[in-house]
Symmetry: none
Subunit: 224 residues, 2 copies
C-alpha cells in the first residue's frame, strides 16, 4: 500500500510518515502542492493525504487537478479549517474524506482503512468472469482448478483486475508494478501478459486479456 502525503509543515509531514510506516504502509512525502500534484498524477498511489493550506498550489487545486486528469486515487483532506464551507469545497473538489486538525491518530487510521477498504484493495479475492484471484495465496482460481502466480505475475494480474472495465496502458502497469523510476521496458509487460494468458487458459478460465493497439490491455469475458 503506497500513500503520498502532501503537506508543507515539515514536522507534521514527517510524523505522519513515521506513523504510517509503522503501520506497514509505504509512504512518500511532497512538501508543496505543485510537486505533490506531479507525484500524484503518476497514479501509483493508493491514497493521497492532502493538506489544504500550502504554497504554490493549495489542496483544493491539487485535488481538482488530479481529478481533471481522471486519476481516481482516493483523497483524504486534512486541514486546520473547520468551517462547513471548507469541508464542502474540499469534497466538491474531489476529496473522498475530510478530517480537521488536530485529529486523533486512531481516527486517521480508521479513515484510511475505510477508504482503502472501499477501493476493494482489502478484500481477499478479486473476481472477474468465472475466475478469481486469491490475494492471500497469489493463486488464480477457476472452478476446481487453480494455479499459483509468481510475484510479478500476481502484481500485473491484480492491477488489471482492479482496473475493472477500463483499459490499462503499459505505462500504467510499468509505473505501478515495476515502479515509475525503474528502467523496465514495455516488453516486460508483454512477456508477463503472455505468462498470464497461458495460466488463464490452463485453468480453463473464460477471462481473456485483450490487447488494444497503442492503448494497452483490457480484460474481457469470453462469450461462448
Amino acid at each position: 500500500m503506497k500513500i503520498l502525503v502532501i503537506e508543507d509543515e515539515k514536522l507534521l509531514a514527517d510524523s505522519l510518515k513515521t506513523l504510517l510506516e509503522s503501520k506497514g504502509f509505504q509512504v512518500e512525502v511532497a512538501y508543496d502542492g505543485e510537486t505533490g500534484a506531479e507525484y500524484a498524477l503518476l497514479g501509483i498511489y493508493d491514497l493521497l493525504i492532502l493538506d489544504v493550506m500550502m504554497p504554490k498550489l493549495n489542496g483544493y487545486q491539487v485535488a481538482r487537478q488530479v481529478r481533471a486528469k481522471r486519476c481516481t486515487t482516493s483523497i483524504l483532506m486534512l486541514t486546520a479549517k473547520s468551517a462547513v464551507e471548507d469541508r464542502i469545497s474540499g469534497l466538491n473538489a474531489g476529496a473522498d474524506y475530510y478530517l480537521t486538525k488536530p485529529f486523533d491518530t486512531r481516527e486517521l487510521l480508521a479513515c484510511i482503512n475505510a477508504l482503502l477498504r472501499r477501493q476493494g484493495k482489502q478484500v481477499d479475492e478479486l473476481v472477474f468472469g468465472n475466475t478469481a484471484l486469491d490475494l492471500d495465496t497469489c493463486t488464480l482460481v477457476c472452478g476446481d482448478k487453480s494455479v499459483r502466480l509468481s510475484a510479478r505475475e500476481f502484481d500485473v494480474m491484480r492491477f488489471m483486475l482492479q482496473a475493472q472495465d477500463r483499459i490499462v496502458s503499459k505505462e500504467m502497469i510499468l509505473a505501478r508494478v515495476w515502479g515509475y523510476d525503474s528502467n523496465a521496458v514495455e516488453n516486460h509487460v508483454e512477456v508477463y501478459v503472455g505468462f498470464l494468458r497461458k495460466k488463464l487458459k490452463a485453468i480453463g478460465s473464460n477471462v481473456r486479456i485483450e490487447a488494444i493497439r497503442r492503448l494497452g490491455y483490457h480484460l474481457e469475458v469470453e462469450q461462448g
Copy 2:
C-alpha cells in the same frame, strides 16, 4: 440512484427523504435497524444513510451485518454522538463516512456526491444523439450495440464530440490528433472520417458526420 435511509426519528427521516428526493434521488426509509438491515441486504441501493442510536439493532450492528454479508453498498453514518471513539467504531464497523448531527444539508449532499462518485457508477462518456463514446474503453455505444475504436479513430471522434455543435476544420483535427508538426495530410482526416461513419452505421447510431465544403465537418443527429 436509490438511497435507503435508516433512522428512527420520524421527523428527521422524513425531512431527509424530502430533501433527497428534491435532488432527484429515489429514497426509501426504514424506521428501525432490523428492517433497515433487511432492506439493505437486498443490494439494490447505491447508498445507505444510517443512524447509530436506534431500537432493535443499532447502527454499528447494522453496518457490521451488511458488511458481513459481503454487501458493498456505501454507508454514510449519521449521528448525534460526536466523540472520536464513536467515529472510529463507526468506520471500523464498515461505514464509509461519518457525519455528526446537526449537519449542514449542503455538506450532506457533498458527502453523498463524493461517495457516489467513488463508486464509479457514473461512467465517463461523451454523449451525442443516441450514441456515447466511452472514454474508459474507447468504445462507441448505441443501445445494446457497441464497437471498439482504434487509437486514431478514438482521437478524431473525441475531438469532434468535444467540439459539440461547432464545425471543426481538417486543419484543426490534424493539429490536434496528429500534432501540428506532423506531416500528415488532409486525406488522413477524410479516411478516418470514413472509418468512423462506417462504425457509426454499424451500431445503428443516428449520429452523422456531415461534410461542410471548404470548412470541415460537423456532427448532426439524423431526424427520422
